[in-house]
Amino acid sequence: MESCNCIEPQWPAEELLMKYQYISDFFIALAYFSIPLELIYFVKKSAVFPYRWVLVQFGAFIVLCGATHLISLWTFSMHSRTVAVVMTTAKVLTAAVSCATALMLVHIIPDLLSVKTRELFLKNKAAELDREMGLIRTQEETGRHVRMLTHEIRSTLDRHTILKTTLVELGRTLALEECALWMPTRTGLELQLSYTLRQQNPVGYTVPIQLPVINQVFSSNHALKISPNSPVARLRPLSGKYMPGEVVAVRVPLLHLSNFQINDWPELSTRRYALMVLMLPSDSARQWHVHELELVEVVADQETELTPEQRLMVETILKSSNLLATLINDVLDLSKLEDGSLRLDLGSFNLHTVFREVLNLIKPITSVKKLPITLNLAPDLPVYAIGDEKRLMQTILNVVGNAVKFSKEGSISITAFVAKSESLRDSRAPDFFPVLSDNHFYLRVQVKDAGQGINPQDIPKLFTKFVHNQTLATRNSSGSGLGLAICKRFVNLMEGHFWIESEGLGKGCMAIFIVKLGIPEKTSESKNPFLPKANHGQTAFPGLKVLVLDENGVSRMATKGLLVQLGCDVTTVSSRDECLHVVSQDHKVVCIDVCMPDGFEAAARLHEKFTKNHERPLIVALTGNTDKVTKENCMRIGIDGVILKPFSVDKMRSVLSDLLEHRVLFEAM
């Protein structure tokens, strides 16, 4: 501070240094004061900074440091005591605050550092979650794929397709190296390799079915891991260098109905299984996951046995698809109908069955649509008729189908009866002249529904082919409009008439048709409840009144059935008294079981009852004994014929015909 009196420098060196010190101090102070301001500004902007208290401390420390430097600006030159005091105070405070800050930082800096660590940790977690999301998405895809596959399986009825599809899709979904199916052979003692994924022509390997590994798999419905060295897994030469992939096997229950190679039928009681073997790719570290095993079990289980109801439904569906195919083919008949060259296929058929079949075919749809449907067949409707069965069924099915198609609710009723003259002539059919005869009858069928109805003016247009009535065409309707036109043609060919009545839109509709059908050949005894077969030709004794006396219910029924087969009118009695009570002149033949205690007695009494020989019914003894005693008894009592039990229809027929011809026959053994 004292100026040196020696040499006066050019520049006052100290002055220069001091000047620079002065300037530096100033800038330091400036910086020191602005740093906290910046801190405050930015921290105010960010909301999450947790250490505001520290900031205050830090700020104070910096400010004081700045103040110290600022004050030292005054201390370069001579200064007063006040300035010295202020400087000291500032320095002391600064010292205090900076020590406090230093201590504080010991706690805070590790915390700040750990924030960084946490950040890194969170980043890792996020990456892991991303990976898992990817996996879940893949599983979802697989699940969807499997659902489609099972749907495919359920909808396919072809056994080969089911299995092939199963193998292919499983192989694809699970990225398998190999997937194979072992089917039980006819004998049930071996499993034969039937299908594989990779090899086109599987060699007919067989393995015995009693292997422990196979028993283990068959005894549970889970997919079990098996050794790659077991016989069922050794499907092809090892392609990998080191390790074959893990192998899993699962049992596949077999459908009882199969259209496979198996022709002979095994015992109904044994449940048969096939074995499905799945191999992961070799030389990969892949292992079977739990969800993959579950998938395999679900798929294998799809091949379950159909319950009888399901089978019936399947058959109905098949039948109706056959019928649909027939109907489609018959559309081509329309051209034949046009030029009049179509001929009806006349034959004898069961009329009641036709209606029942139509009902069975339409029932699945009516139950889905919840439309009650009833069939009323009149009691006098003949069971058998002569006509074109196929086309009659087509007509009825078409009419009923329309009723179902155009009804959203309400019930549908089908009524069928024999049309008598009043119901035949109809004002709506002025040009319909029914001709009644003994060989034919007119069948009238009415189908009533409570559906959309038709505007009466539009009714004539219905029968025009290919014209679809716009008011009828809803978004649910399909079909080309050919149906009614064809049906009308068929009905006309059957010399009948077809018309539709409706009171208007929304009021339902009634379709009525009358067709002429032939009556099959009847016997002269029209009241006979047991109509013999139309083409039987063996009704030798139509209407012959026979009385059967047998104590044993079973043989009585058997004898009766036999005689009925021959066209007789049979009455049965079980005791001698009943026999004598019931017998009359109308009975031409009385069959008596002479093995029963009262048999011969009954025969004797019959003789007594009918004193005049020509009034007496012929007595036939049914016996199991051929011994002499029986024969003598028969002759003594006056039995006309003897038949040995067990007897057949033919034997009875020959005995009766001989008897009736000659009125005497002695033995028929």
Partner: protein
């Protein structure tokens, strides 16, 4: 429709098996021939009647053989009935046992009778099971839309 054909084959094979094993004889065929569309349940009706009849008779026989003093004539009458029924439907094995039973009755051999009663019960329940299975098969064929194949 393969399923119908398979079921029919199954039915035919089962029926043949019954004949081969002697459970049924030709009389059963005769009964089947008596069944047609106008009489579709004839065989079932007759066989059902046989079951009811036989069960009643077997009960009577069991009771009769437990008596202090055995009435062999009554037993013979029952067995005769049973023999008649079984021969009517062609239950051959039952019928054969009945014939043996009657012999023992004539000899008044109580042990023989009891043994035969046991045998007849066994044969009866066997043939009953077989016939019920047969009818079930027939039902399956009919339900599948097929018709019962004629006996050969």
């Amino acid at each position: 429709m393969d399923s119908v054909v398979l079921l029919q084959r199954q039915l035919v094979d089962y029926t043949a098996q019954l004949f081969n094993e002697g459970f049924l004889d030709d009389q059963f065929n005769q009964l089947q021939q008596l069944q047609d569309e106008s009489n579709p349940d004839f065989v079932v009706e007759v066989v059902t009647l046989f079951f009811e009849d036989s069960e009643r008779l077997l009960n009577e026989l069991a009771k009769a053989l437990e008596q202090q003093s055995i009435d062999y004539r009554k037993i013979d009458a029952h067995v005769h009935q049973l023999k008649g029924s079984s021969s009517s439907i062609g239950a051959q094995r039952v019928q054969k046992v009945c014939i043996a039973f009657r012999n023992y009755c004539e000899e008044r051999n109580i042990e023989g009778c009891q043994k035969c009663l046991q045998q007849v019960k066994n044969e009866y329940s066997l043939v009953k099971t077989k016939l019920e299975t047969l009818f079930k098969l027939e039902q399956q064929v009919l339900a599948a839309g097929g018709s019962i194949p004629w006996p050969m």
